[in-house]
Structure formats: structure tokens, C-alpha cells
Subunit: 358 residues, 2 copies
């Protein structure tokens, strides 16, 4: 990131909570939604942190997201259900629907999956998968993306999202092993951050609107992102999208409207949340012993030249979190400008929040 | 492939069955195991077809795979179990364990997962995921690979497999949508086929034993394969490996011996098989209607210059299968030489089988 300022977590939480409450969200919901965003920032996943707050606020104020959603469980069965998010902010729907999956898994003693409809962009998938991991389960969280900006392999029109998913497994090593990836070479959120800060992007991340590779982040946002591994990334993003939408009436393909450009229609985003208790299969002590052995072995692998340390997926984010809680979250000046403007429009002073923080 | 010969499916089935029976396998098991391999060849996934038969025969004859395994269900619960493959050939253990997952899902009306230990290299993951799709369920099949030839990101020692997984969803369009991918840029099986046939490989597929990129397939087999998307592919292969092994006592990391080079130790390969009935979430008619719309929309996407047709994952394999059943399976001469030698060592005449076929 080019020009950054360290902002304390508590200041961001306070600012974000006030802003969300101002749009009609309840205090507890606002607190929870901002927690999901700040966790992403703490973990160094800035692309899915408070950089997204302005668009959520825009959607809430435009009336295409409901600040006080009626969320309900449909087709309720012991280990599955359809969860209707009532067009609430995705963070809340994501957390609540995963709580349902975890409860069902605990009570029914079976792998439990909750298919979600009428949700919205839910931020970083890892948060939800880790809810399950923290409960001693393997967590799965799949979602369709909020913007179509990938093409099927061989195609040139954006009818697929860059659909992310996360899988988390607990370890006895202080952090969960967490895979959290979208299906493009780079997350579009990173392109958004680059565009916000005026930074260039690598040439293999995206195609511009002319269908040619571009290093201009703003041009890339008008074009297509490239799937990781070509046809593999296409197949993966398609499958994640279908898993997230075909079990409910959530939107897919051309039904998906644009998170940023369309402030007239609800998005009807779909997710699939899963929780699988480890002790159904293996005694937890033995699982922990084997998992620790696996983690230590990966960490201890002979390193390539110039590499200081080998990380497990999720470990680097854990370390980032420890640092950021202590030292503050580095936010780009473009992001701060946007937060300031969002706050101003709702009568919340971003700079006063930051300055007033101990 | 350089030099190929068309061989009829029925001849390959007959040859393979006889060879497997000769090693002590029962007639039905041999029939089923060869079906899994030939399905891969029919689908054009030659890297996981009969090209692998010689190593399975070698392992059976060396006594490190059991031709008549005692397979058993452990920790049996309504929607989960641990399945011990009794060190049987992976194709049989894969099919049987997925049958258990499907039965449990049907009876318990819940997503059902079966964690497998004491198995072996099971071939193409798609076969098992499609068992579930053909039963009206979403199929998941994860496995650890039979050779460590990937390093953690930043590492230089091969302690990870190129772990493959498949997810399949039924459609009303004549084929299942099937994601089946390993976590490297290219499947190691493709490198094996290239080495067999003396073909070069692209420079981004693998590193030679010196740690540098190579286009020599034989050198690549002694080195490391490269993860797709760099750290993403590393995180993915690690997670698939952990999912496949940590719920049982299946081997992980340095415990994994080499499929080809170690004929003294059983591999204790692990899988995780899952089946999730669609009608728990959505009426099947409505699912079919929405899935058909999705499939048609992807197929109808505006094409890039020079592209004739856009395929869904699994669709190209379906078309390949139709053609190969009619016209025969194209096998490289290197592969045929190996099959001939394998047959000879067991008194089965490959050429007589091929010639004798209608």
C-alpha cells in the first residue's frame, strides 16, 4: 500500500458501529457486522475490511439492503435448512447462518449444512469457517460473489463471479488452518484497494474493458479478472457459485446485479455454510496430536533461498492480527478519505473518533 | 499424445479384469476396479486411466496392496463413519466408501461424510463424486495424493502431495457438472504420460531435481510440481490433504511413501467422501429448472475470438466418453508397451485381447 496511516481497532469499531446504527441497524447487529470487517483488516485482508463499509452504507441508505432484516429458517431439518437472510447485511446473515449450522451439527451429531438465500456480500469467508473451527468442527463457507467479472473459459462476457470459499480446521497451535481464496489470480478487492490508492497491478491479474491485460487498476475494475490456473479457476468458480445458489432461490449468472453499480435492486446473494464435528470421526486428543505434527512438519520444511519462514494458511493472518491489535491497522489514505466522506454524510466524524481513541 | 492406437473399451476391460484376477482379486472387484480406470480413459482423462494399471499390479504382486481386503466400517454413526479400506486397491475402496456415504445420506436424510483410511491411490476423483450426483446428491471426494512432490510455499522439500478433489452436481442436461482438479498447474499423471511417450512438457508445470524449471518430463518426475496460483495452490493442496487424513489415522506428510518407488510399505492413503441430498434443500424440479438455466447461460456466453464452444466442467468429458465408446480409446504406444509387459508377466496376452475384440 502506498500511503498509510495506523488506526486503532477500537476507533474503527466505534466509528463503524455508529455509522451502521445511523442507517437503522440495531446496536448488537452493528457491533457484529463491524467485527467481521475489522477482523479482516486485523488479519491483513484489507480487501475485505472497512474498505467495503462505504458501499454497504450506500446500499443501506438506498434501501436495497435491510438494516433490520427478518431472517428465517425454512425447510428446517435436523442437519440442514434453507436460511433466508431477509436481505440483511451479509456479515450478519453469514454469522447467524453459520451459528445455525454449528447448532445443528452439535444437536444432530451429523455434518450440517445451511443453504442461504436473500443475503448480501458477506466479506471474508474465513470468518464464518472459523466460527465452526472455534467450535471444534471443520468449517466450510462458500459464497457467490457480488459482481460478475469473470467469463467461462473461452468466453468474453462476465457472467460469473469471482466466487470465494473458505475451509477451516482447528489446531492446537494457537491458530486455525484456514484456506480462504477466491477463484481469480488476485482478489478483486485487492484491485479495488489499488485503484483507491492509485497503485498499479500486475499484468496477469485482469483484462481491461478492451479484453487486453492491463496494469491500471481502474481500467481492470471495468474489465474481467482472470481465473487462477485458467480452466481450473473457471471450473472452481463455477462450482462454488452453483453450490452457493442452486440449493435455494439465490441469484446466479445474469441474475446477479452489481454490488457497486446497481443501487436499485437487492442482490439475493447465496451462501452455503457447513460444520462437521471432528469428534464424530476421531478423538479430539488424537486429532490434535496428529494436526500438531502436521503443522510442525510443514513449518519445518527446508526453505527455498531467501525465505525466512514457512507459514500455514491462516498463520500469517494470525500473526498479523496480533500485531495489528497492538500497533493499529494500516489504512490507505484513499480508504480513509472514503470513510471520512461516508461518516460526514451521516454526521459521524471519522477524525474525532480516531483522535478520541486512547 | 505423440503416437497413439485406438483400443476398444471392451478389450481393455477384458484385459484389465484378467490381469487383476490373476493377482488374486475377485471377479466382481476386478470388474469394478477396471471400470473406474476405463471411465477415466473414456472421459479423456488418460492420466488416471489404464496408464496406472501396471503400478497397481506391481503393488499387488509385491504384497503392499491386498487383492482381497477386509474393508470395515468403524465409529459408525447415522451420517458419518470411518471406513477402513483394508489396504485394498483404491478404486474399490473409493466406490464402496462412497456407497456408504450415499446410503447414510439417504437413510439419515442428512449430509453424510465418510472418512477413509488404509486405502490406496484411487484414480480419478470424479468417478466417486459422480456416484453421488447420479443418486441425486451433491458429491464431494477429497484424497491425499500417492506421491509427495509439492513443497509448502517458500519450501523446497516435497512433503505435500498434489492432492486432488472432485465436486459433482447433477443437471437435467445429460451430464453432471463435475469439478475434478489437483492443486498443481498440471496433473502429475500428465507428466507421467508425457514421459512414457517421450513428449516435452510446458516450462511452468514443474521443477527438476535441481529446483529449476524443466521441459523434460522424466526430469520433472524427479523434481517438484508447481502449485496452481502459487500460494493459493499450496493452501488448497494442504487443506485437501488435511481433510483427507486428519479425521482418521491415514498418513500425511513425511508418513506418505512413494506410489512408484516404494514397493515395501502400504501407503495408508486417506479420502473424505461426502454426499448431500439436493431435495433436503430444494424441490428437485425447481433445482433442475434453475440448473438447466445456469448451464444454458454458461454455454451461451459470448465467445472469445477463435473459440468454437464453451463447455461446462464435466461436459467435455461426457462428449469424449460418447466418442470413445464408439471409436475406441486412444492409447499412447508407451502406455501400450507397459500394458503388454504387465500382461506378459502374468500370462495375459494384451495383443490377443485387442485382436480378439469385435
Amino acid at each position: 500500500m502506498s500511503d498509510t496511516q495506523l488506526v486503532r481497532e477500537s476507533a474503527l469499531r466505534s466509528f463503524g458501529r455508529k455509522v451502521l446504527v445511523q442507517t437503522g441497524m440495531s446496536e448488537p447487529d452493528a457491533r457484529l457486522a463491524i467485527d467481521v470487517l475489522i477482523e479482516a483488516d486485523l488479519r491483513g485482508v484489507y480487501s475485505h475490511g472497512v474498505v467495503r463499509l462505504p458501499i454497504y452504507i450506500d446500499r443501506l441508505r438506498a434501501g436495497v439492503m435491510d438494516p433490520a432484516p427478518k431472517m428465517q429458517v425454512l425447510r428446517d431439518k435436523p442437519s440442514t435448512c434453507v436460511y433466508d437472510g431477509g436481505n440483511g447485511i451479509g456479515m450478519i446473515v453469514g454469522v447467524r447462518s453459520m451459528e445455525v449450522a454449528i447448532d445443528k451439527a452439535r444437536v444432530s451429531q451429523a455434518p450440517s449444512f445451511v443453504a442461504v438465500q436473500n443475503s448480501n456480500h458477506y466479506g471474508a469467508a474465513a470468518y464464518f469457517a472459523e466460527q465452526a473451527a472455534d467450535a471444534g468442527m471443520i468449517g466450510f463457507s462458500f459464497t457467490i460473489g457480488g459482481i460478475n467479472h469473470m467469463a467461462p473459459w473461452g468466453g468474453r462476457a462476465p457472467i460469473l463471479g469471482n466466487n470465494p470459499f473458505a475451509i477451516a480446521m482447528p489446531t492446537p497451535c494457537g491458530f486455525n488452518v484456514v484456506l480462504d481464496m477466491a477463484c481469480s489470480v488476485a482478489a478483486r478487492g485487492k484491485i479495488i484497494v489499488a485503484a483507491r490508492n492509485g497503485d498499479p497491478i500486475p499484468a496477469d491479474w485482469a483484462l481491461g474493458p478492451d479484453g487486453l491485460p492491463t496494469t491500471d487498476a481502474s481500467e481492470a475494475l471495468k474489465g474481467l479478472v482472470q481465473p487462477v490456473g485458467g480452466p481450473k479457476g473457471y471450473a472452481l468458480t463455477l462450482m462454488i457459485g452453483l453450490l452457493s445458489t442452486m440449493l435455494t432461490d439465490a441469484f446466479f449468472g445474469s441474475e446477479v446485479t452489481h454490488l457497486y453499480d446497481d443501487l436499485e435492486n437487492p442482490q439475493n446473494i447465496g451462501h452455503l455454510q457447513g460444520a462437521m464435528p471432528i469428534d464424530l470421526f476421531q478423538d479430539r486428543d488424537r486429532y490434535d496430536m496428529r494436526m500438531e505434527k502436521a503443522v510442525r512438519e510443514v513449518q519445518g520444511t527446508e526453505k527455498a533461498a531467501g525465505v525466512e519462514r514457512i507459514y500455514l494458511p491462516g498463520e500469517r493472518e494470525y500473526i498479523s492480527r496480533e500485531n495489528a491489535r497492538r500497533e493499529g491497522i494500516p489504512l490507505g489514505t484513499g480508504v480513509i478519505d472514503d470513510l471520512r466522506a461516508t461518516g460526514q454524510s451521516l454526521g459521524i466524524d471519522f477524525d474525532a473518533e480516531v483522535a478520541g481513541d486512547g
